[in-house]
């Protein structure tokens, strides 16, 4: 009997964790989409990393052009 109760309790905790994790992942996804939209609106690459990469690529390309 005790073990059945224990298992029930465990099950409830796992269900709750699943709910909390889903809620967090959904929130993160919305936030990331919103940030991308904000960045597009400002004419920026979708992510900060992409922006920095574009900047360094630009420089490297410039140097390459000089070598040629």
């Amino acid at each position: 009997q005790d073990r059945i109760e224990e298992d029930k309790e465990k099950g409830a905790i796992v269900d709750e964790r699943r709910r909390v994790l889903n809620e967090w992942l959904a929130w993160r996804e919305r936030e990331e989409e919103e940030l991308k939209a904000d960045r597009r609106e400002l004419g920026l690459p979708e992510t900060l990393d992409a922006e920095e990469e574009a900047n360094t690529d630009g420089k490297a390309g410039g140097e390459g052009a000089v070598v040629e």
């Binding site: 796992v14 964790r17 699943r18 909390v20 994790l21 889903n22 967090w24 992942l25 929130w27 993160r28 996804e29 936030e31 990331e32 919103e34 940030l35 904000d38 960045r39 400002l42 900060l48 920095e52």
Partner: protein, 341 residues
């Protein structure tokens, strides 16, 4: 997790910061000196001398060109990281408690102390990320905190907002361009100072630590309270780990503040919590006094803590750290850590 002990400061640590690639860390302390260290082996790279008072804060621009610092000598200084030369001094009426570069390094905010005759302020300075450039003396923005002084502040994503934590426990959001107060909320217990505020890597949410013994996670967009991490000691610092969904809290009661003798030893631990489930999952001992500052390697390989005891302890995360996960995380395929976090 065997730490590397960095011995270079003679007084209590006030802030630690990693460079963007996590290779170098900067520490500042009340002994008026800034130290730079290789995070991999703890070798000291150099020191930055010039401040005439206790150092409260440092930050590094995202390209690792310039170092900014704030101190009790009422100045903000800008340093050429490579040569150690001071390239700019801005003077204020009171001590500078926190500096923070925005995400492209073009602006620096500085939180100034309240003192008789002067209200606390948050000042924005324009910065040219170039060690040869002439930096402007002008303050681009001055936000005056007439309700409760700001103790900490940071820039949000896209430099859209300045988020500040206050002496009375509140957190407020200001427009990053105009300085207008948009929203303010009593995030922590009334009168319990916000002691630290650190952004997530994309600056869309942040963690606050408070003397009310809790740390909290909030949205930078609208200050929504997302998570609460309760502890049993006043907190001085809190950081969010990239890659893995954890937060690290640090604090502890200074010996002089402990009224009862025989207070439990080992209160001076870094506490790890699961960011999403809010459970405490581990502690790391080591310091002989309260933890004043915790910083995490932006690449998620380790963390460093600075204590009232004058030591910096640098920890590389081990296998167990990276393997750790809840059953539901495995089930949902995010146990190893995920960009989704």
């Amino acid at each position: 997790m065997r730490p590397i002990l960095l011995q270079g400061h003679e007084r209590s640590l006030t802030q630690i910061k990693y460079t963007k690639d996590g290779d170098i860390l900067f520490s500042c302390a009340k002994d008026q000196v800034i130290c730079a260290w290789f995070s991999a082996n703890g070798e000291r790279l150099g020191t930055y001398h010039g401040h005439q008072g206790a150092l409260w804060t440092v930050d590094i621009d995202p390209s690792t060109t310039l170092l900014a610092s704030g101190a009790a000598d009422n100045t903000v200084r800008l340093w050429d990281i490579r040569t150690g030369k001071c390239v700019k001094v801005w003077n204020f009426d009171t001590a500078v408690k926190r500096v923070d570069f925005n995400e492209d390094g073009t602006q620096l905010l500085a939180v100034t102390e309240k003192r008789m005759g002067f209200l606390g302020t948050i000042v924005v300075l324009d910065v040219k990320v170039d060690v040869e450039a002439e930096q402007s003396d002008e303050k681009a923005l001055v936000i005056t905190c007439d309700e409760s002084k700001a103790t900490v502040a940071a820039w949000s994503y896209l430099s859209r907002y300045i988020i500040a934590g206050h002496e009375d426990g509140s957190v407020s959001q200001y427009d990053g361009k105009t300085g207008e107060l948009i929203y303010s909320t009593p995030a922590h217990e009334d009168g319990m100072q916000v002691t630290d505020l650190q952004m997530s890597s994309d600056r869309t949410y942040f963690i606050t630590a408070s003397k009310d013994k809790s740390a909290k996670l909030h949205s930078a967009r609208d200050l929504t309270l997302l998570k609460t991490y309760p502890s049993d000691t006043p907190l001085n610092t809190a950081a969010i780990t990239p890659k893995k969904p954890f937060v690290i809290l640090g604090g502890g009661q200074a010996a002089m503040d402990v009224t009862t003798t025989g207070a439990r030893q080992g209160k001076f631990e870094a506490r790890f919590y699961h960011k999403v489930f809010e459970d405490e999952i581990g502690r790391v001992k080591g310091h002989f006094g309260p933890l004043n500052t915790v910083a995490v390697d932006p690449l998620g390989r380790g963390y460093a803590s600075g204590g009232e005891d004058g030591y910096v302890r640098v920890h590389a995360f081990d296998r167990g750290y990276f393997d750790f996960g809840y059953e539901v995380e495995r089930e949902m395929g995010v146990a190893g850590g995920s960009g989704k976090y």
